[in-house]
Amino acid sequence: MLKEAVDGQVTVVCNTIAASVQFQVEPVGRWFEAFLKRRDRNVSASFQELEEEEELSEESEDEELQLEEYPMLKTLDPKDWKNQDHYAVLGLAHMRYKATQKQIKAAHKAMVLKHHPDKRKAAGEQIVEGDNDYFTCITKAIEILSDPVKRRAFDSVDPTFDNAVPSKGEGKENFCEVFTPVFERNSRWTSKKHIPKLGTMDSSFEEVDNFYSFWYNFDSWREFSYLDEEEKEKAECRDERRWIEKQNRASRAQRKKEEMNRIRTLVDTAYSCDPRIKKFKEEEKARKESEKKAKMEAKRREQEEKERAKQAELDAARLAKEKEDEEAKQAALQAKKEKEIQKKAIKKERQKLRTTCKNWNYFADSEAESVKMMEEVEKLCDRLELVSLQSLNEVLASGTKEDSKAAVEKQVQEVNAQLQKEKEAEVQARQAARSSEQASSGSGGGSKGWNEEELQLLIKAVNLFPAGTNARWEVIANYMNLHSTSGIKRNAKDVINKAKNLQKLDPHQKDEINKKAFEKFKKEHAAVPATVDNAVPSERFDASGAEANTASWTTEEQKLLEQALKTFPVSTPERWEKIAAVVPGRTKKDCMKRYKELVEMVKAKKAAQEQVAAKSKK
């Protein structure tokens, strides 16, 4: 109980309040969350309360239902409940599928209050006995609409729903006006939440695309169980029930199919009529066209550019060649002229010499001498150069007979000596050629010389890389280049020629080469014991040379051996005997030896190939 105010007391503030303090609270509970939300949104508690009140009032507004009277209600036949409009019966004709469960319940309550037989009886109305009263219709309506499954079934066949699909002709005219309501109407059947709108003429491509993909994948909940002709509950036995079920299922499936077709037709029609799609298609086409054009243009330009460059290059080359030709021509002319002049001069000089000699009677006393002298002079004329002829003529012209004679004789002697020399040189050259020919015995058309060391290396390489090696001759050539000391670069062709030559040589010659190599090796490594590993390849060659039988393994034998090696693994007892038995004409020892060789070869080959590979990588 509050106290009475004493006289003179007025509303007054007489003190200040203590400031707020900060406490740590536990972050749990819905009130904490509410507090947090309030704080984040920076609103006061009272504001939130106001909001909540608003929400409440909204809810209460919902409850204020406006029920539409259904004038036919009293004339309804309860037996024909299947054909009645349940929404209309409950006075919800204006809400239909939008009515909430709450509203339906409220409406039902209102209807019951108004139309219950007891109530009407009290008001003095005549009541039809039993289930034939129209009140049964109301009961039926709430029964259908309060059950979500049944309500859905009824909604699916809502008699007020317009199933019509606009024709193409209609749609072409004013697309948006025609189709927007149709799609909005049909979108109630979807089970998805966010339904894309048809949009306007200015909708973007994404929006339109989204819209059509939604409708093409339309997932409808519409079902037609309400239209079932037979009622399962009416069946008398299980078989009949099954039969009815089957019938119903078939008709439902049929109707569902029709429905899907209807939607499909609708979307197809819309799609074909949609001016936006047309626009997008055209745009796309134009874009592609322009892209194509641009591409073509670019290609053409490139081609032109290329051709121009080529032409310019060709022109430049031609000009250069022409110029060169011209120059060469000039030079040739010049040379020819000079040659002619020289020729003339030499002719003149020769004539001079001859006349001089003749004048001097060839410095001879007797006829025979003079003839001989004449021969000599002719020889001089042939052999001597312009300059020496000139000088000789000068001497002859200025000097006395004795002097001239001496000079001529001296020249003759010189010429003779020269001739002799030339002859000797020629003989020697011929000899040398012959000997060299013999040595290389027609080696590939003037190939570079092969010395002992290189030959040895070649033999080694050939043995290392037997026939069948990948790019064998390149590998051998590379090997040679790597290991040779001469510094001469060999290519595969050189190597192949030389090797063929070597093959032609008789074993004796090979032997010689090897022996030489061995001697040289011995000389070089005098201190090193002869059993070094390096000597192995040559030894092997030796052996193959000496024992012709064991050395040359034919490819067939080789194959047999390889096969045998595979079939008898290392673990096989008496392996080598078995291998030898498989390879005809070979002993166990031969096989073992060959195997060892092969192992060596493979090892070396691998090493060399790696080197080549490394090199090629570089």
Partner: protein
Amino acid sequence: MAAIGVHFGYTCACVAIFKDGRADVVANDAGDRVTPVVVAYRDKEQIVGIAAKQGRIRNAANTVVKVKQILGRSFDDPEAQKHITESKCTVINKDNKPKYEIDTGEVTKIVSPDEVAKLVFHKMKETAQSALGSDITDAVITVPFEFGEIQKNALRQAAEGAGFSVLRLIHEPSAALLAYGIGQDTPTGKSHVLVYKLGGTSLTVTIMEVNSGMYRVLATHTDHSTGGESFTHALAQYLASEFKRSFKHDVTGNPRAMMKLMNSADVAKHTLSTLGSSNCFVDSLYDGMDFDCSVSRARFELLCASLFNKSIQPIKTLLEQVGLSTSDVSKVVLCGGSARIPKLQQMIQDLFPDVELLSSITPDEVIPVGAAIEAGILLGRDCSSLDVDSITVDCCARDILVKEADDTGADMYTVLFPSGTPLPARRQHTLQGPGSLSSICLELYQSQGHNSTPQEKLAQIVLNNLEPKEDNHDIVTVVTMKRDGSLHVTCTEQGSGKSEAVTVAVAS
């Protein structure tokens, strides 16, 4: 949508699912609603739960227990050191972080406590998933109030490593309160709640203030030496002495026999919570000799009498500490498995004679259920991004009271606005004045200090010229306090609509 709450305790872990508006604990694959936090390492596999606990007798060196004691602690932490000395598992020091050394056949594995915790969380996730039948990640994890930031982070990371998306870490006492929905129905009012948690190894007593549906920890006390295990240990010691009496053999020195006895005592202790007596039977306890002994509840209570007293003691000291009497506490929440012990419940009831003991939810499931409820609350939120696990809010410092006269005419004060109310807040009261009066005066006071006897007058509101009537004048008083603490009071007489308002400023 569903969310789960996980309680990761020292000895047991438990998971509850919030689904369809209610939270419930789910049983694990063994059919137990709580899973022992025991991880056993074998050659190729890790076993979590009851199987690991049962296999502990043979595989003690490779079985990790009570990993929470060491989780997120440095090696030289005293708590960690205590754990290390007690653990049967080798613990090594690596960068000042404790790690378990697990010997699995040939190789020695180094396992961090985080990994062990991760395994346990993984097990809890599996349990929830199998119960729910679908993948679930959103979870609220509970932590003891005394956990530090590092330990909380370690726990959070272990949970995230097991595939949880941790919605929030909440304190165990608040989860217990939430499980009973204390203060959740109406956002007004203020009360004090005592949370008594007696777990496997620790005893925690917390006094919380519930105000406007929000919880605040006033004081807490944790005792790591008292727990369910100490009772089991006492019982096992008794059993050992019985064995010695009948067979003349001392098994206290034999660790394996003691472990068997402990297991048996554990079972007996559980039975004694519901039955009057229990039979302990251990096959070939020592040297092929079987042990059979019957323990009555009275015997057990006698054995543990001192321990019970020790468990109750912290309540009194804590109440003294915050200056509350037992009558100020409106509710007592029991949680932790050992809070089931009837004697203990009775002792607490004796301490709070006119207070209801909340134990309708099984004590060891209270905390996970609360966590699951919190998870359900958070699940509805779009963004529940809260970086800190506790948050400071502005609260009203003092009680705001109004002076009234009781039936005899003596002064009495009614609290209009309790201290500790989170601000801003608004409270509405309907005060009544005698209908015969034509003017009514409301005098507003604020309390001084904690107890509300010495008052300080803040303001007075006078409503004049009221029409006298037969029944009482209803004065609707709306008290609003802003975040800074300034007070606004509006009084309206319902009959005539006359109103007065005052604003009290904050002392600078």
